[in-house]
């Protein structure tokens, strides 16, 4: 009997005693052994810790104790989530070797549910990028075509699931960093409503935009992980005081009567094949009984610009703590100020430096109103646009990424073209809304295309209903 390939089927078989967590783990470790050298999904594979966690799950099952909803599910963690005693680098030289003395809340919750952590995944340094090429520790390659990028910034987590190095993984999404790599790697990726999943222990990039979410092979698994991870955390004041999301019951509901929004003034420039898949997605939803309605989001075209002021501004402050004084890299120098400079010059890569400079400038006296202040106003306009659109529609559908996975190196010298990868994902973060990417057929060169489902604040139930329908209707059929 084959090893089950989804998180929910793994947990079910382990809980029933049909499979051991250990044998499941070993099969995933064998995949890592075989293909990781070509993919580079991980900064660190935590083999011994994983074996110990699997053994504990097996002991719980043997002793008749409840091993948890994710019993024995091998899960990879993006390397910007704190893991006690296990290096957490953010793919940056400045944090190389740093071992957090504490676990992120999501790590605690997944472990309590019986998950088995297989490793820490590669990312664009401090989650700044769309290709996982801005890592200090090497590029992550797309499992569908290793000459291509996996997307980013959570490229390692997306690739880990696509390559079956883990049954699920966690990423963080500040402007599309879960959804875009999910689309490029052909897996499901969810950015939940801001405040749904605790950020405690997630190394901050842009605090008002960052949100943790899952990568999985199917829609059901994402619902399962979110049910385990979500719910109020007193350690994160931006966490919404509410019980965990309840999503499983949405998966089997059809989409009859749901109103699906199509943005009439969506920025153009997508691959024709991506546009074709999205058109097919609308048709499939209509065929399943949903109503397609036109909505306008006139401020959406300013989203990218606003984002590249707000996110760097917050980052310039969040990353100021990497000064060589307390932890991580220190480059010795004659006095404190020059030590800060030497440490940060050596420790940060080019993209991080670029954004720190952008953000510092945008917040500076005399420039605040023209840049940061104006970007905050655009953020408000985008939220207002969405509010109007969601009076007419229950969810909105767009491409996740305008293009399929591009060749490694194709955009590294052109930051603006790289930034455009996130044109459809960024508005969601500015509004604090949930959105997810669902694989929907292929585009150029047979590479995966993702369709994005957007919903209003706490609209995850409708979002998952539509995502599940898209999965059932996807070219090639349901998994």
């Amino acid at each position: 009997m084959a090893i089950p390939s989804t998180a929910s089927s793994i947990a079910e078989s382990v809980r029933r005693g049909e499979r051991t967590a250990t044998e499941i783990l070993e099969s995933y470790l064998a995949n890592i052994e075989r293909r990781e050298k070509d993919i580079h999904a991980f900064n660190l594979v935590t083999t011994e810790q994983a074996r110990a966690m699997a053994a504990k799950v097996d002991a719980d099952v043997a002793a008749g104790r409840d091993p948890g909803a994710l019993a024995g599910v091998p899960i990879a963690l993006k390397d910007n989530m704190c893991t006690r005693g296990v290096p957490t680098t953010c793919s940056s030289r400045i944090l190389e070797g740093w071992k957090p003395p504490y676990d992120a809340t999501v790590v605690t919750r997944l472990a309590a549910a019986g998950a088995v952590f297989v490793g820490k995944t590669n990312l664009d340094e401090f989650a700044m990028g769309s290709s996982t090429e801005n890592s200090a520790f090497g590029v992550t390659h797309n499992p569908h075509d290793t000459s291509r990028v996996a997307g980013g910034s959570s490229g390692g987590s997306a690739a880990a699931v696509a390559a079956e190095f883990a049954a699920a993984s966690l990423g963080s999404d500040t402007g599309g960093s879960i959804r875009q790599p999910a689309a490029l790697c052909g897996v499901v990726g969810v950015k939940p409503t801001y405040g749904t999943v605790s950020r405690y222990g997630l190394v901050a990039f842009a605090s008002s935009l960052d949100q943790i979410g899952p990568f999985t092979t199917d829609v059901r698994d994402s619902a399962l992980l979110l049910e385990v991870m979500s719910g109020h955390d007193p350690l994160d004041s931006t966490s919404i005081p509410q019980p965990p999301l309840s999503l499983m019951s949405s998966l089997d509901q059809d989409v009859k009567g749901l109103r699906i929004g199509r943005i009439t003034d969506l920025p153009g420039g997508s691959d024709p094949e991506v546009e074709a898949r999205v058109a097919e997605a609308f048709a499939a939803l209509a065929a399943a009984g949903a109503t397609i309605v036109d909505v306008e989001l006139p401020s959406m075209k300013y989203g990218l610009t606003a984002y590249y002021l707000i996110a760097p501004a917050e980052a310039s402050s969040n990353l100021a703590r990497y000064d060589g004084v307390r932890y991580g890299l220190r480059v010795e120098s004659s006095d404190t100020n020059s030590m800060y400079g030497a440490t940060r010059a050596a420790g940060f890569g080019d993209e991080v430096k670029r954004r720190i400079m952008l953000g510092t400038y945008a917040l500076s006296a005399g420039y605040y109103d023209a840049y940061y202040g104006k970007a905050l106003k655009v953020r408000r306009l985008i939220s207002d646009d969405f509010a109007r659109a969601y009076q007419k529609a229950d969810v909105i559908i767009t491409p996740t990424s305008p293009i399929v996975a591009f060749p490694v190196g194709a955009k590294v010298d052109d930051p603006l073209s790289m930034y455009l990868c996130d044109v459809f994902t960024i508005p969601t973060n500015l509004a604090g809304h949930p959105a997810m990417s669902v694989p929907f057929g292929t585009g150029a060169d047979g590479l995966p295309v993702g369709v994005q489902v957007l919903a209003p604040t706490l609209g995850e139930a409708a979002m998952f209903r539509v995502a599940a329908q898209l999965e059932r209707s996807a070219p090639g059929g349901a998994r």
């Binding site: 704190c82 957490t88 190394v203 004041s237 931006t238 100021a320 932890y327 404190t336 500076s364």
Partner: protein
Amino acid sequence: MSAEKYMIDDYELVVGLEVHVELATATKLFSASANRFGDEPNTHIDPVTLGLPGALPVLNRQAVELAMRIGLALNCTVQPCTFHRKNYFYPDMPKAYQISQYDQPLNIDGWLELPGGKRIGVERAHLEEDTGKSTHIGGTGGRIHGSDYSLIDFNRAGVPLVEIVGRPDIASPDEARQYVTELRQILVAVGASDAKMEEGSMRCDANVSVRKAGQPLGTRCEIKNVNSVRSLGRAIEYEARRQIALIDSGERVRQETRHWDETDGRTHTLRTKEDADDYRYFLEPDPAGPRDVVDRSGEGRLADVAA
């Protein structure tokens, strides 16, 4: 006390005091570590206090309540407020920003009445977090410049402070002493702080300028490192005489921050206005809904913060 105006030669003094007080809370402003003075260094620390990557602040309700008491005792309007980040690098400030209040502080527009009946205006009394404490080893004068190395104690980092910004209504060293003495008694009486200048739980900076009667305000200097009520009076008088001597000899008073030296009884230049920092204040995105901490009735009651 004399009703006669305090003058040095034919100059009058214009003094405004900025007083920082540590609140007598059980724990820090944004974390559960103990707020205690005098213990072994680095024993009251945690991921939030150290500004470790991924740590997040959670606002201490008791600190807000004590800060509101101060506002009410100083006849302030207690209002809905926000937190901002004040960004600058300093080794004993772990996040390289201080969480403070900027354009919407908790308490505004109050006053304190001196024993003789004169009211000294209070512009604002806002909440912020304290820094750690550096001890510079080697070199001279305990300064960081020229020292061999520095030790940092983070026990004080994150301790809740209220900064009480007085209006420049003080006209003599004696009024300054009265203001601080009176303020100290109020802070102790309302249970907000033990307000000990010697232990640093109450710290006072003085903005001093001089002018001839009827003239516009003179250029002010900020005096730091004043560690007792007695030194405060001495420092103000010294600084006023220094400025008068400059003006009388035809020179200009430069706007600068000056350091009071208890041993030689003088103030010394610490930094001039030219290297003033740009703190790049912006709304703190981490402590959620600081606007909602205080209700909008303006009556100074705590709103029900969701648990």
